[in-house]
């Protein structure tokens, strides 16, 4: 059996868990594992949202700001009925995702440019809705239910995340549109020539990305019972790190739901372990940045090496 990226992922996640369970005494307690899975519940969804666009060869920069806006929407509109709040937030996410997708595809420019614009607009909207304050959610039963402990480490919120990952695994691996996403990401012109619905796929991917990050944001806000305009700060960085750590290629066309879940888990475990060992937030930010840089460097090295080998083989044939 060939050792591939997923094995390396499992090995890395296990290594980090082992490392912290030896060096931090409280790491393997039920309470901390629960906290770890709650962090994973948020980061996992965001990694999936960003990772889907990355597999399609694009990049959705507005993921973090969508979390803040969706959180505020869910808390403001869901005071009576939390399902209504989450549904409105998810709908908003789909609309904004569709706008992102349609605009960048119609203009034939990099999705980065359009999503930078959306990110600024969404940040402004969140500050406007919040009015510079922290909005609190009165119905604490919802938060209690979302944070309820099931099987000592899981909660409804982390179960939702795991369910979404299973759906994403089925979607990416077993459906035609899932294969179209990979084709679009690896070679757009070839995919178009082979009959993949490239435009539809790209717009769908952005709508999904908006929807998933909105759900993540609204669940986070409901379980915290508060929302503010800075809810999604620094999440962009973590989601990108987790996706790349999870084996999603920045050049597109490569990545899997399992890999992304492992990437998000590894990063959550790392941050959790560091913080129970007493690292402050600048140190964690610093270590996340170094990790992201290391992974990007590693990926670009292997990619360059792959290209060189490809060129050599072509030369011999």
């Amino acid at each position: 059996m060939r050792i591939n990226r997923i094995h390396f992922q499992f090995f890395l996640a296990a290594a980090i868990v082992m490392l912290f369970s030896f060096s931090a005494p409280h790491f393997l307690t039920a309470g901390n594992l629960f906290a770890l899975m709650q962090a994973f519940a948020l980061l996992g969804l965001l990694t999936l949202a960003l990772g889907l666009t990355m597999i399609a060869g694009e990049f959705d920069l507005s993921v973090g700001s969508m979390v803040s806006l969706a959180g505020l929407c869910a808390v403001k509109l869901g005071q009576e009925n939390p399902f209504f709040g989450v549904a409105v937030a998810a709908g908003l996410g789909i609309v904004i995702g569709l706008a992102n997708g349609i605009l960048f595809r119609a203009l034939r420019i990099s999705s980065l440019v359009v999503t930078v614009g959306t990110m600024i607009v969404l940040t402004g909207l969140s500050f406007w809705i919040a009015g510079g304050r922290v909005v609190s959610y009165e119905n604490l039963d919802v938060a209690d239910w979302l944070e309820k402990s099931i099987l000592f480490a899981l909660s409804p919120r982390s179960l939702i995340t795991l369910l979404v990952f299973v759906l994403a695994w089925l979607f990416l691996g077993q459906t035609k549109i899932g294969r179209d996403i990979y084709a679009t990401g690896s070679h757009r012109l070839a995919a178009e020539a082979a009959g993949a619905r490239v435009t539809f796929t790209l717009i769908l991917v952005f709508a999904l990305s908006g929807c998933i990050s909105a759900v993540a944001g609204s669940l986070l806000a409901l379980s915290l019972a508060t929302a503010s305009a800075t809810l999604g700060d620094n999440l962009m960085l973590q989601a990108a790190s987790a996706a790349i750590l999870g084996g999603v290629a920045l050049s597109g066309g490569i990545g899997s739901a399992l890999g992304m879940a492992l990437g998000a888990f590894t990063l959550s475990a790392l941050n959790n372990g560091l913080s129970i060992m007493g690292a402050n937030s600048p140190t964690i930010l610093l270590s996340n940045g170094l990790l992201l840089l290391g992974v990007v460097l590693f990926d670009s090295m292997t990619e360059q090496r792959g290209k060189r080998i490809f060129r050599l083989k072509q030369g011999h044939s």
């Binding site: 990049f59 605009l103 203009l107 034939r108 420019i109 990099s110 980065l112 440019v113 359009v114 930078v116 614009g117 959306t118 990110m119 600024i120 607009v121 969404l122 940040t123 402004g124 909207l125 500050f127 406007w128 620094n234 962009m236 960085l237 990108a240 790190s241 790349i244 920045l250 937030s281 600048p282 140190t283 964690i284 930010l285 610093l286 270590s287 996340n288 940045g289 170094l290 992201l292 840089l293 990007v296 460097l297 670009s300 090295m301 990619e303 360059q304």
Partner: protein
Amino acid sequence: MFLRAIGETASGPCYPARNAIPRKNKMQLARGIAAASTVQDQIVPSWLKTQFSSERIHATGLRLAALVLVVVAVIGLPAFRYPGNVRAIVYATCATGTAAAGLTLITLSGNLFMLSIGATSAVATLVFASTLNHGLLIAVLATLVLGGVIGFIQGLLVGAAKCNPIITTIAVASIITGLGSLYSNGQTILGVGDVSWLGVGQLLPYIPNQLLVLLGVVLVYEFLIDFTVFGREIRLLGTNPKAAVIAGLRTHSCVVLAYSLAGVAAGLSGALLASQASEGNLQLGAGLDFDAIAAVLIGGVSIKGGRGKVSDAAFGALFLSIVGNILLLFNLAYEIQLVVKGLVVLLSVTIAHFAARSSRK
């Protein structure tokens, strides 16, 4: 004499019979203006024609829009004319414009954006405040060196190691923000020393020294891009990376240079911000990433690389501060300004697309 010589070499391969071309047309070739028709030239001066060519129409349109906006605001809004308000617009333009001038080099080289500008500038404010006791000049030089080093590292990563420019700069931003807040403990650093020359000093009324700094940066970078071999290689690299590699351009060094210069500009904008506030604080560079990117996109620098001028980004920054100021005069808060800024970015990207498409037809 000089112009004529260029004209002759430029026309050499295309027109075997050199003397068949009138001298005036050679001059036009020398100025980089393509095909020359005969009659209309006398009516519309050639420089004006260049400004409205499909390549420049976005940038020119923005400058005209800024002018119209100013005229309308001066007539319609009495508060707009107050000296204090004019000064506020100028100060708001300076730091953003300087950072955007640096970002232009990155965009021209085909590497989209640099998302570490705000972080670089924020850390530079800390360094500025900490080194101010050695004198203003030393403090400014320290920010320049800091920015240059941070930019140089990113240039190596993007140019030589071929890392993705967006992810690399996001990672570097979080690293230096982390280092900065470890250094300052999240607190404000008060500078000990006199910052009045850079902070509030002005040469003439309405012309603060900060504006001179901005103009200096724009002129120097414009000169580097248009009149040095390195600058032209940066532009060519952005226009067509594959052709640049095949033609044997120094692609690695070009990217490293572009990032280093962008870092220097980000550091300098940090010095401007710190001297305005006369303190160093990581919050000072908070919105600078958005603003610089917005200025570059609105200014008409092509996001696909290779096309645009450094001064376009500066005018983009000016336009943004005028719009922000007018919104402020209508009592619209910071949030609405952000929304409008984002919408203007999306609008200008859309307009740029349609301008490019009409020029292809």
